[in-house]
Assembly symmetry: C2
Homo-oligomer: 447 residues x 2
């Protein structure tokens, strides 16, 4: 049990001054604007602006090791697929210990950036060559990493069985991804238990990596377990072309025909969509996770986020490849990247973008969080407001200033389930996260 | 005279360890790698990575007050022109004192971000209604602001005479921009002296704001004074359409016909270009200043920077509207925004992007700076490397990590002409820049 006096907070609905928040067993038990009244002596004062914790819906933590490593001119071959080849080389070298160390440092960077829950889209399951580890070693690495970093983990365990629609064996590092069949995937996922900081969830890697029967099994597992179901969708035009050639349907239409779409499903990227695809995603209330910094880095294209939101899809956000860990940049880029290609401005409101980073993200990850409200998890973060990036005239346009101006360096306090994990911009358990990252990234260089 | 031991520096050409830099009269007088040898006791140690100072080629300092203020949905009318109406409202309210305070705070934010020289594209010359001030009050405000912030100022004094190709009188706040004719503009610019921190320079606001005779006069003034000449070019399609309708030429072709293009000229934006425009700019070695954060914010479109560089145009960078002050983001966005629209990655090298932020920027602003080399101005900045954004394995891909990862929060030391202006991330003269900004932006709210 802990209590906090939030000097200025955005609850998810409105700005409030002097809000008393009391946490019991990790949950917000009481929330009350104090007006000019006195605060309880035991309440910890949180200055600046408090927001619900940020929810990072889509991450591949280990990609953090590629930051700045794949950007140099690659000639005419530079695209998503040449990047993937570099990512596979890294994937071929990680073991449970290095996977843990890298994920811990990446999750700690997220904590400093105000992220209180992360959806780790995990596909690096098995040993080099494809043999299973004796137990769920790579999964336990992620669970331990998130616990040390202090962030909630939704483990989106991804089923990945084939190299593409043409079938055939997986080769090289991709052999580590495969459980050989979807039932074996389900047995492995069932083999490790949930706990308060861990939400087990299912992921269909993509329509290219699973056949239709396997897609049905993974979706069925998610339904049975009332678990979130995520799927990479139409990030690249090549996926659309291959899917249409193999099935006569777009990836979205194929998923719809297999009853994968729906309000507990999140489509990741959703960039190359037909008008019918947008309608199907919206009508089924399927959430869409936009990952703009990665989509810009990989040259994927711009998600038609305004059309999706208008059709009925809740939008949420992911740092994906972690080439940048900054959910404020992800949020503003949802709007700004559309401006670049449409030459129009002002489609999404700042509060809708902040909800994408908070409540919609929490829903996609299966956490009862993302708002400051009684009964929700006590996950919140504070921003210093008198920084060069955020300075402005008081509360006027404050949420807009945050969305369009903020960076992780503005984050001061991060509280998860009532427990401070970052204070004064410093990670309480792990200390200097930059040094931790430097160490693990340097270790990866020395075989 | 001062001396510095740079533990690791990128000179503009290469990375060097333990570089001794000696400054005399603001200039680099001696530069020597020390190897394992001892450093002079008086040398100030600069840790992290030292870079040449960043040159911000295109700024409208007063637009800083619009950050986060124009982003909310504006309905179907939201575009560059609706944004400009809001900017004009602000322009109608500033006086020399508030212009100074706002510019000082904006330039101080730039200093913290590692910017050692700024090109201020200045058009707010006269009193409300258009009457001249008794002296060059608004220009002196900018000069004093840059001096207090510690950054070099290239004052790109902009000639602005008409509302568009159709002619007619300027109205409202735009009356403050006009000198009535180009000769009066030249007399006003000649009325204030240069000094070591100030470079006077000329700007043609745009082909829509000056007739051809006036364009010739401004360009002639720049030639006579060997001063940089800048011009807003093809930021918006409407400018192209109006120019072609009025003159039968694209804005680029019109400027070429008036002998405005050339190696001392910088075209700002240069987004909506024909292949012939790209060729003309490249053949004449006209520099192009890309302002990606503003161009994304305003929905301008994506500059064809790769084609321009290939054609022969040096690229440089500007923070323009100061909706963000981060030349690292500007640099990476030159590459990343092209990826969004071309779906290819890896066109510009990281070092070429860093040169855009340093040496090419200095050239466009008329400063003998932007490299660590004997005879250049002693302007340099240091980045802490073990931060969450920049952490990586030693020197491998270091410049790429800086371009794709760095933010102003990574800047530690800023030295201009051998004189420290920022140390440990703090502005030595002005102290808490966030508070300074908050104060001036709040004052602007209370008429």
């Amino acid at each position: 049990m802990a209590s906090f006096l939030l000097e200025l907070a955005w609850t998810g609905e409105r700005l409030q001054r002097r809000l008393l928040l009391e946490e019991v067993a990790g949950t917000i038990a009481h929330l009350e604007p104090l007006g000019a009244g006195p605060a309880p002596a035991e309440a910890a004062v949180v200055s600046g602006l408090t927001l619900p914790g940020l929810n990072n819906v889509h991450s591949h933590a280990f990609h953090r090791a590629l930051r700045g490593r794949t950007e140099e001119p690659a000639g005419a071959d530079g695209d998503f697929w040449s990047w993937r080849a570099e990512m596979y080389r890294l994937a071929g070298r990680l073991e449970p210990t290095s996977y843990f160390q890298l994920a811990r440092a990446a999750f700690a960077e997220m904590a400093l950036a105000g992220i209180t829950a992360v959806g780790e889209f995990h596909y690096l399951h098995h040993q080099v060559g494809g043999q299973p580890y004796p137990g769920p070693a790579m999964e336990e690495a992620l669970v331990a990493a998130a616990a040390e970093a202090g962030v909630r983990l939704t483990l989106l365990d991804s089923c990945y069985l084939r190299p593409g629609f043409q079938g055939g064996p997986l080769e090289g590092p991709a052999m580590r991804f495969s459980d050989r069949d979807a039932m074996a995937w389900a047995r492995r996922v069932d083999s490790f238990p949930e706990h308060p900081g861990l939400r087990r969830a299912a992921a269909i890697h993509s329509v290219r990596a699973l056949d239709q029967a396997a897609i049905g099994i993974v979706a069925g597992w998610a339904r049975e377990h009332s678990a979130p179901l995520h799927v990479h969708l139409s990030e690249q035009l090549a996926e659309n072309l291959d899917c249409t050639a193999a099935t006569g349907m777009t990836p979205t239409a194929l998923l719809h025909s297999l009853q994968v779409l729906g309000p507990t499903t999140t489509a990741i990227h959703a960039i190359h969509l037909s008008p019918d695809d947008v309608r199907l995603l919206g009508e089924t209330s399927t959430a869409v996770c936009v990952c703009p910094t990665t989509e810009r880095d990989l040259g994927d294209g711009v998600c038609p986020a305004a059309a999706l939101a208008a059709a009925g899809s809740p939008l949420c956000l992911g740092s994906d490849s972690n080439s940048m860990v900054d959910l404020f940049e992800e949020a503003r880029a949802v709007e700004l990247d559309q401006r670049l290609v449409t030459h129009r401005r002002g489609v999404h409101s700042a509060t809708s973008l902040l909800r994408a980073a908070t409540s919609a993200g929490a829903a996609a990850l299966g956490w009862n969080a993302g708002e400051l409200a009684v009964g929700r998890l006590a996950d919140f973060v504070s921003l210093e407001l008198e920084t060069p990036r955020l300075a402005g005239p008081g509360e006027r346009d404050l949420i807009s200033r945050v969305i369009y101006g903020a960076a992780p360096s503005d984050i001061r306090e991060v509280v998860v389930g009532g427990r401070p994990i970052v204070s004064g911009g410093r990670h309480l358990r792990l200390g200097a996260v930059g040094s931790l990252l430097t160490q693990v990234l340097s270790d990866l260089e020395t075989p």
